[in-house]
């Protein structure tokens, strides 16, 4: 029954995509919008192949792609490695919260571009400033998800564990951490999303490669077909990344929604 429902949902999504492409083709073939503003799907396809074989600015599309993905993954992994323990500990140990929370709460609402130029001044125009920008964008969602997860943990889990003989350290690792895992995954998904939306900003300045840079550079020369390829590549990658995280989540947090 559930499989049938999932298949139906997939078919609807497929049909929606097909309708969008048909509409797009119709609008461009009837020349209702200038090809400079909206290239045809065929043109975008040809540009995609061209970018794969010839490249953009001397760099092949997959190389741009790997550079962007590398920056994103390094930043997100750093945010996961630092944000998860920091968020969990902040929720569990009031002193840690008192130290860390104001800093994260301060960073959280600031648009990353506001401090990007400062990061470039401090860290240079290389990879460090770009990865740091993405890291700072990805950290708050993970931290907050973990913090909230600990705060809302069923108090009886902790009381029950202590009455079974667990000490504070054991409760943290054997109860708090697994109980928080469903929300940790939600935080990771949000963090990947936020980092992803920041990637174009990160590659906007002082870069010469990367999908974000390619989009920005192509916009200077009104190469909308290249921009479309970049946007589609980013969009598809975002969907695939989210799907992969969900896949891992379903395996690790097998009890989610069932208890």
């Amino acid at each position: 029954m559930q499989k049938k429902r999932r298949l139906r949902s997939f078919n609807i999504s497929l049909a929606t995509t097909a309708v969008i492409i048909i509409l797009w083709s119709t609008v461009t073939s009837l020349k209702l919008i200038s090809p400079v503003l909206l290239p045809s799907p065929l043109r975008v396809g040809q540009t995609f192949i061209n970018l794969c074989l010839v490249g953009y600015n001397g760099t092949l599309l997959y190389q741009h792609y790997l550079i962007t993905l590398g920056r994103l993954l390094v930043a997100v992994v750093l945010a996961i490695v630092i944000g998860i323990p920091l968020g969990l500990l902040s929720g569990y140990v009031p002193t840690v919260k008192a130290v860390v929370d104001p800093i994260v709460q301060f960073i959280r609402p600031i648009p990353p571009l506001a401090y990007y130029t400062l990061l470039i001044l401090w860290l240079g125009i290389g990879e460090t400033s770009k990865v740091t920008l993405l890291f700072l964008a990805a950290l708050p969602p993970i931290y907050l998800a973990c913090f909230d997860a600990v705060v809302k943990i069923n108090r009886e889990y902790i009381r029950g564990a202590s009455s079974l003989g667990a000490d504070q350290r054991q409760i943290f690792f054997h109860v708090v951490f697994p109980a928080a895992l469903p929300d940790v995954f939600t935080g990771v998904r949000s963090a990947v999303g936020v980092a992803y939306t920041t990637i174009v900003s990160a590659e906007m300045f002082a870069a010469s490669a990367g999908i974000g840079w390619m989009i920005v550079d192509a916009s200077h020369y009104l190469k909308s077909d290249v921009m479309f390829v970049g946007i589609i590549v980013l969009g598809v990658t975002g969907v695939v990344l989210d799907w992969m995280i969900k896949l891992v989540e379903n395996r690790v947090v097998h009890w989610r929604g069932k208890f």
Partner: protein
């Protein structure tokens, strides 16, 4: 010396003007099955929280084997109404949680696990996920998780109240069977007078406001089938007397 001694205990929640419990005095022995009854909100769970070490008396003291209770530990187990089983662990891993935390990995623990699984009818569910079980089976896991630790004091906070009558009756039998093998001191909270009469060697009645122990009754009908007793005048009188003691909280 009693296993558990409660002396002149008052308890007031932080920020509250009125105490929740006042002048609680109680002595409980090991190998005893004690049921606490009383109206809702009278402080029964608060009393268990104090014994467990989750909260601390405002005045007076609670001692276990002569030693003041200052924090929770495995020697005072607790079965909650919603069981608080860990959904990320299997049935066996939930039961083995206590021994694992206490670094007990000897073969004796595996023997205890096998015996408990058999006694609670969970042998076939050993590797099942918790969320695959019915409410009654989950409650069995919760009991087994405590009994494997063999705590000298085991508390049950309305543990069977959400179960249907047939499942509850099964749970009574399982509890009595486990208790007879471990001979620990069980303190069970219930709202149900019939459950109290069947399960309690001693029935502790809490009433008034703030909550205080108004009576500790030795129960002559412990483990006796109610259907055989319903026509007996002495049983009816005892039951009515308990109902009278529970009554409605005064001055609320």
């Amino acid at each position: 010396m009693s296993l558990l001694t409660i002396e002149n205990v008052d308890f007031k929640y932080a920020g509250s003007c009125d105490p929740s419990l006042k002048n609680i005095n109680l002595n409980l022995e090991s190998n005893s099955l004690n049921v606490v009854i009383g109206p809702s909100g009278i402080g029964k769970t608060t009393l268990l929280n104090l014994i467990a070490g989750y909260d601390h008396p405002s005045t007076g003291q609670i001692k276990m084997a002569g030693k003041a209770i200052d924090q929770p530990d495995w020697q005072r187990g607790m079965v909650f109404q919603d069981m608080a089983l860990f959904p990320w662990l299997t049935v066996a891993d939930n039961i083995l949680f206590g021994p694992k935390m206490r670094h007990l990995n000897d073969p004796e623990i595996q023997d205890r696990l096998a015996r408990l699984l058999a006694q609670t009818g969970l042998t076939d569910y050993r590797d099942a996920a918790i969320y695959e079980l019915s409410g009654g089976l989950k409650q069995r896991v919760a009991l087994a998780r405590e009994f494997i630790n063999r705590p000298p004091i085991l508390m049950l906070d309305e543990s069977f109240s959400a179960l249907d009558n047939a499942t509850r009756s099964d749970m009574h039998d399982i509890l009595l069977n486990l208790w007879e093998t471990t001979q620990n001191c069980v303190i069970a909270i219930t709202h149900d007078i019939d459950e109290a009469l069947f399960l309690g060697q001693n029935i502790i009645v809490i009433n008034q406001h703030p909550g205080t122990i108004v009576s500790v009754e030795a129960n002559p009908y412990f483990k006796k089938d109610i259907s055989d007793l319903s026509g007996e005048p002495a049983y009816g009188a005892f039951r009515r007397r308990l109902l009278g003691l529970i009554g409605k909280p005064k001055n609320r």
